[in-house]
Symmetry: C2
Subunit: 290 residues, 2 copies
């Protein structure tokens, strides 16, 4: 009989859950929750989701923000988008079924690699552009995790002179510029107005507002700057852009511009095709393949 | 009988050659040449070196600036530190012995991994800080090359707002800041004096000159910024600093500062121990292991 996983995607703003089969098909309802603000609320919510579905599945697969150590099934260091103490949560203690944990961008990268945009690419990098920025790296058809599971964190500097705090506590990381939050901050800086939202920029661009277009162009060129560095470091076949903010970027512009500036051989820039739930699908596929 | 390689290290300023045995021991004289300014002179120099030694060795191993494609034994894209057309040189055509080519930083990384500072580290990154900056990446005890051999090029941006041209033609790459050339440019910018040399800064620091110390600190903190990003991306066991400029940096400061700012687990920062000729040793070891 076909295996099934209860899959969760834990992000800085929302938590999703559903059921995924071993072919990567979603075969349950998609449930959506606001991300709790405290650890106590977090444990209660997870326990509720687990107990509702754990008897119907073979395994629980969680795609989460933050680097994951697969050895001890804990988050090494969560991002500032999740409540303090998140990395102390013992996910396995909340269910009798096996709980598998993977970084959300790693999970999404795996979904894109198995059934999405980077399906035929042995070397790919996925960037999930949402509240924060996640990164997943596939090298030689394998998920690259590094020495401790923390690889692929998109916290490399865009400026070396300390301009903008990142959610990680350091300064000027790619995440602090290329995320939806980054777009808002870029807008607030350029337009000197603390009330502007990410939504205002996106709507403004749609309506032909020149100032908002200028903000958007700066944001997209910051993403471009990051893609150039990643390409020169990893020499991948492709970079896949995923997440809620990825729908707004011009992948043709990014691809041609990256390829003009790199010292390695040309890459492709794709928009993700495994869907908004690729984190859950990838985590489920990884969990069921173990 | 033990194999031997004629080994060359082709850099932006100097070319070295010697003989290396299969254990990585140097067993010939070290010869040193100025890097030719034209391709014709380049071909003549290489031909002279090859014909002088090729009968005494099993293979010719070249560590070179620029990304190397091992499939066709050519430089994919040389840096601006080498004459235009360098990537058209057909090295194999200059000798009857097999000619093996590897990026100089990759070769140095391999030497450090086999017999140097990163000997017991499955995951390591080496940065060769010289006229330019080279990068070599060892992942899971293998040299990481990417899809086309171009991986590990340290051309990721330090600033996303186009301040300083890099030798690669793009802007504000790590190489343009962390190299010896980068130190000179940083000094010229901070002190607003175009006549200052890298040597002036190093001498000034030795003599307790406060302004030169300020310049040096900025240069070292730019290196630090790069190490933070590389650590978050690759999650390595260690980063090894090699090349002529590496002797001046404070590896203890860099290690403790990196580990304060990363989201992954702590790394070690080492100074290279395989010596100034690690490029030749690593290229020879790689060549003789094929």
């Amino acid at each position: 009989m076909s295996q099934k996983a209860l899959a969760l995607d834990i992000g800085g703003t929302k938590i999703y859950n559903t059921i995924v089969d071993e072919n990567g098909n979603i075969c349950g309802e998609i449930e959506k929750h606001s991300t709790p603000k405290t650890i106590d609320e977090f444990n209660i919510l997870l326990k509720n989701i687990f107990s509702k579905y754990e008897n119907d599945v073979d395994i629980i697969a969680i795609a989460t923000a933050g680097a994951v150590n697969n050895e001890n099934n804990k988050v090494i260091s969560s991002t500032g988008n999740l409540p303090k103490g998140y990395n102390q949560i013992n996910f396995q203690a909340l269910s009798n079924k096996k709980v598998f944990l993977e970084n959300d961008a790693n999970a999404a990268a795996w979904a894109e690699h198995i059934l999405g945009a980077s399906k035929n690419c042995p070397y790919s990098i996925i960037l999930t552009l949402g509240t924060g920025v996640g990164g997943g790296i596939i090298l030689n058809n394998k998920l690259y995790k590094g020495k401790s599971g923390g690889a692929g964190e998109m916290h490399f500097k865009m400026y070396a002179d300390k301009r903008r705090r990142c959610s990680c506590g350091s300064w000027d990381c790619f995440e602090a510029y290329a995320s939806g939050t980054g777009l808002r901050k870029t807008a607030q800086e350029i337009l000197n107005n603390q009330n502007i939202t990410t939504y205002d920029v996106i709507e403004g661009v749609k309506n032909g507002d020149e100032k908002m277009q200028q903000v958007f162009t700066k944001w997209q060129d910051d993403i471009l700057a990051g893609l150039i560095g990643l390409t020169n470091l990893f020499d991948p076949d492709c970079i896949v852009l995923s997440g809620s903010m990825a729908e707004f970027v011009d992948t043709n512009y990014l691809e041609s511009s990256v390829n003009e500036e790199i010292v390695t051989t040309p890459i492709k820039v794709y928009r993700a095709t495994a869907g908004n739930y690729s984190g859950m699908i990838g985590a489920a596929l990884l969990a069921m393949s173990k």
